[in-house]
């Protein structure tokens, strides 16, 4: 960290940075209003699952927003980033108009900047630590928008830089799962010179980026460009390959794989286990979103169409809940309702997603918690009984705890309920590895610095380790695991 601080200091003292700082006095920078990103109109965007809501910044908008950054001596924004992206450097490159350099800076730290620019909760991370937020109580520099701009600019310019890779060393390694943790792992390992294969159980690469996040928030085309980049670097992808079923770890070892990274995510939906949850018309957000995002079950010619409710209740207050409820609106629901047991202030979803949901006519029944689903005569869900809540003292998550208001129970009519209250790791892969140390929550226990598991040649990261993680945290895990696996293999095979 000391080294990094020194590098940051030296970079800040570079002539071009100093010149840029001196060009505009801070009092003028402070007076610039935070940029407003152009958005698709709510009444238009709710007609399409693939119409991206945010339209991105123009180069002029981006440069103006970047000029709000005062290039602080102590860039606290970096402390808010889980992978310590050199934020001032890429922002100042944007201000200077060197957009490709900004993209290159981002790629030094993040394999998926176009993705993170769209889905990271910046308001809780880098932007929460921005000088404007911390000291001036003003809107922070729109770091997330700028990240997205730089990545999009590079992609749209047709000048995507394929990072250099070392000469192949002939050692095969495998990544299991193709979500953000595995992709960032694969990106680093291929640079180090290994033969990298990513095994994906589904028919599409991308993991949660494809099956979990709808295209109105993260277009598949954006993810595909990042995947193409990895392919060009030499990463091999195997789809429809379930490690533990299609082939065992022993089989893969016989095929020459020397080390493994498990990034198989958390694909097992959690339920509340309340009465009526097994009725027809009650499903997990995993099922709902996967079927729409990956299997196109929302299309009229689908062999297995997804249920389209007229009155859809989505339980939860996270990003997945917002994705599900906004999807239901796009699938024609007359009422799409978020049911959340805390208040809006405690919702873990990104503020932007909540705002977009509100604009799209999503109803919010906060401070309410389902206690039972009731059927109609055909055995389909027809009502949900809700326990009204109030807020008590803060709990371990730092947010005020929901407390039931005794006797205050209401019923509302619904015909589809989607449960979005979190996920658990898929138990298949851990079950295939004897001696793999697991937590009682089904996560793989690893050394937090090296991401190495109790089996020396097995590393892990992302949701299978954390239970739940943001994209950027999962990527950080993948990168740390790659560095550690590289050390492990160098020692073992005298590289």
């Amino acid at each position: 960290m000391t080294d990094y601080s020194e590098i940051l200091k030296q970079e800040r003292n570079a002539a071009w940075r100093a010149e840029l700082r001196n060009a505009v006095p801070n009092k003028d920078r402070i007076n610039i209003e935070r940029v407003h990103m152009t958005e698709a109109e709510p009444h238009e965007r709710i007609k399409s699952q693939t119409c991206e809501v945010n339209k991105g910044l123009t180069p002029d908008q981006a440069r103006r927003e970047a000029s709000r950054c005062m290039d602080c001596v102590n860039p606290t924004c970096i402390e808010g980033c889980p992978v310590s992206i050199n934020i001032p450097k890429f922002v100042k490159y944007i201000e200077a108009g060197h957009f490709l350099d900004a993209a290159a800076t981002l790629k030094e730290f993040s394999a998926l900047p176009a993705v993170c620019g769209r889905v990271c909760p910046q308001e809780k991370q880098c932007e929460a630590k921005c000088f404007y937020t911390q000291k001036m109580k003003k809107d922070p520099v729109a770091i997330g928008y700028l990240e997205r701009f730089a990545a999009d600019y590079e992609r749209e310019s047709g000048k995507i830089q394929v990072p250099k890779v070392e000469k192949r060393n002939g050692i095969k390694v495998a990544a299991i799962g193709s979500g953000p943790a595995s992709l960032s792992f694969a990106g680093d390992m291929i640079k180090f010179g290994y033969d990298v294969t990513v095994f994906e159980a589904l028919h599409e690469i991308g993991g949660v980026l494809k099956y979990g996040i709808p295209e109105f928030r993260l277009p598949n085309a954006i993810v595909d460009v990042e995947l193409d980049n990895l392919r060009q670097m030499g990463v091999n992808f195997e789809k429809n390959f379930v490690v533990g079923r299609t082939a065992s770890f022993e089989d893969l070892k016989e095929l020459g794989y020397k080390s493994f990274f498990i990034g198989s995510g958390a694909g097992l939906p959690n339920f509340m286990n309340i009465p009526g949850e097994n009725l027809n018309g009650v499903m997990s957000s995993n099922e709902y979103l996967t079927r729409v995002n990956l299997m196109y079950a929302n299309q009229s010619d689908s062999d297995t169409p997804v249920l389209r409710g007229k009155c859809v209740a989505v339980v939860g207050g996270g990003n997945t809940a917002m994705d599900a409820v906004r999807t239901s609106k796009r699938l024609g629901a007359e009422r799409s309702i978020i049911i959340y047991r805390r208040s809006r202030d405690e919702m873990p979803a990104r503020l932007e997603e909540i705002k977009h949901a509100e604009e799209e006519g999503i109803e919010f029944m906060n401070l309410a918690n389902p206690i039972e689903y009731l059927p109609n005569a055909e055995g389909r869900v027809a009502k949900v009984r809700l326990q009204r809540m109030k807020l008590g003292e803060p709990d371990a998550s730092g947010r005020r705890k929901p407390v039931p208001i005794e006797g205050d129970i209401v019923e509302i009519d619904i015909d589809l309920a989607i449960v979005a209250i979190g996920v658990s790791p898929n138990p298949l892969i851990p079950a295939c590895l004897a001696g793999l140390k697991m937590s009682k929550w089904g996560t793989i226990e690893v050394n937090e610095q090296t991401m190495q598991s109790s089996i020396p040649e097995v590393f892990a990261g992302g949701d299978i380790v954390r239970g739940g993680a943001t994209v950027i945290l999962a990527m950080g895990d993948g990168r740390r695991a790659a560095a550690s696996m590289h050390d492990y293999l160098k020692n073992r095979y005298n590289l």
Binding site: G318, P404, G422, W441
Partner: protein
């Protein structure tokens, strides 16, 4: 031939001795020992909602979880599911090692989704449920009527959701104990156990630290439940079990004379082990034999409020002349 059969928890018990919910009833080996020693029913260790909250708090303090609100948002459900799964395994294990009725015990401190736990313990094979109803009244904004409504609503909801018998265990901390018992009595209960015994804080004056006081009851504590069993047994339709301070056969006999249908014991078993059940039953039989009673029904409630020759003693709270000659020691 002396017949010790009685009814509580909605079914016939072979004798009035029930092993109360405690750490003694938290594993299958101990449950087996109590069953083999002659216990009529065994109430498993309570599942405490507070345990779930504590575990949630511990996870929240861990570094990996702290920066991801979405992960923590509903994690209490995950913890609860694990606790319930573990409790379900305990019920199954207890049923496998004994034919003695096994009663699940639920400690509720809040309403809502927690209630559905009752149907899960039913599915796991519990023969009955004992609701351990007690909300510590330290919240200055919580009114007595809120707590009362919570108790009644909880009982209503749970009896609505399960087919197995439901009993409650209450504390004596009510300003209208008789009224609340009457209200509970209207909810098709399979019994009321009085009273719960709670852990208390103490202070270590050397370390100047708050510590947990001794957890076992003492013998003279039986007087409080004895009074209320005597007062309420003739007035309630559902049977009563006496608990707290019942240590010896003579205590059991007193409770039955006051109108209890059964007793729940724990502290005496901590001191003397499961085999002590046999000793108590022998004492009970010997007394019945000496008195010429053939069944529990012959003397149960004989000294309750409505049948005792001097019922005023049950209702008197203030000392009159009994300490008149006290000179100190």
């Amino acid at each position: 031939m002396i017949n010790l059969k009685t009814r509580f928890f909605g079914f016939e018990l072979k004798n009035p001795l029930i092993v109360a919910s405690s750490s003694l009833t938290a594993d299958a080996d101990k449950i087996k020992a109590f069953a083999e020693s002659g216990a009529a029913a065994i109430v498993l260790k309570s599942v405490f909602e507070e345990e779930i909250i504590n575990e949630y708090n511990q996870i929240g303090e861990s570094k990996s979880a702290s920066h991801f609100d979405e992960f923590m948002d509903y994690f209490d459900y995950k913890i609860r599911d694990q606790v319930l799964a573990s409790y379900g395994r305990l019920i199954k294990a207890a049923k496998e090692v004994s034919k003695t009725p096994i009663v699940a015990s639920i400690n509720c401190v809040s309403a809502g989704d927690w209630l559905q736990f009752a149907s899960q313990v039913q599915d796991a094979g519990a023969d009955a449920i004992e609701l351990n109803l007690f909300v510590m009244p330290f919240d200055p904004t919580r009114r007595a009527e809120d707590t009362r409504r919570f108790y009644i609503d909880t009982v209503k909801e749970i009896t609505r959701r399960v087919k197995i018998p439901v009993a409650v265990k209450i504390s004596s901390y009510f300003s209208d104990l008789a009224a609340i018992c009457h209200e509970l009595d209207g909810e098709k209960l399979a019994g009321i156990t009085m009273f719960n015994r709670f852990t208390s804080p103490d202070i270590d004056i050397e370390k100047e630290k708050v510590i947990e006081a001794g957890t076992l009851s003492s013998e003279n504590e039986y007087l409080l439940p004895l009074r209320w069993v005597g007062i309420l047994s003739p007035r309630l339709k559902c049977p009563i079990a006496a608990s707290t301070g019942v240590h010896e056969a003579r205590h059991v006999i007193k409770m039955l004379l006051a109108g209890a249908s059964a007793v729940q014991m724990a502290s005496a078993f901590y001191k003397k082990g499961p085999a002590y059940i046999g000793e108590i039953l022998k004492g009970l039989e010997a007394w019945m034999d000496k008195k010429g009673y053939e069944s529990i029904g012959d003397f149960k409630g004989r000294l309750s409020l409505t049948k005792a020759a001097n019922p005023a003693l049950y209702e008197r709270a203030q000392y009159l002349s009994s300490f008149g000659g006290y000179a100190g020691s």
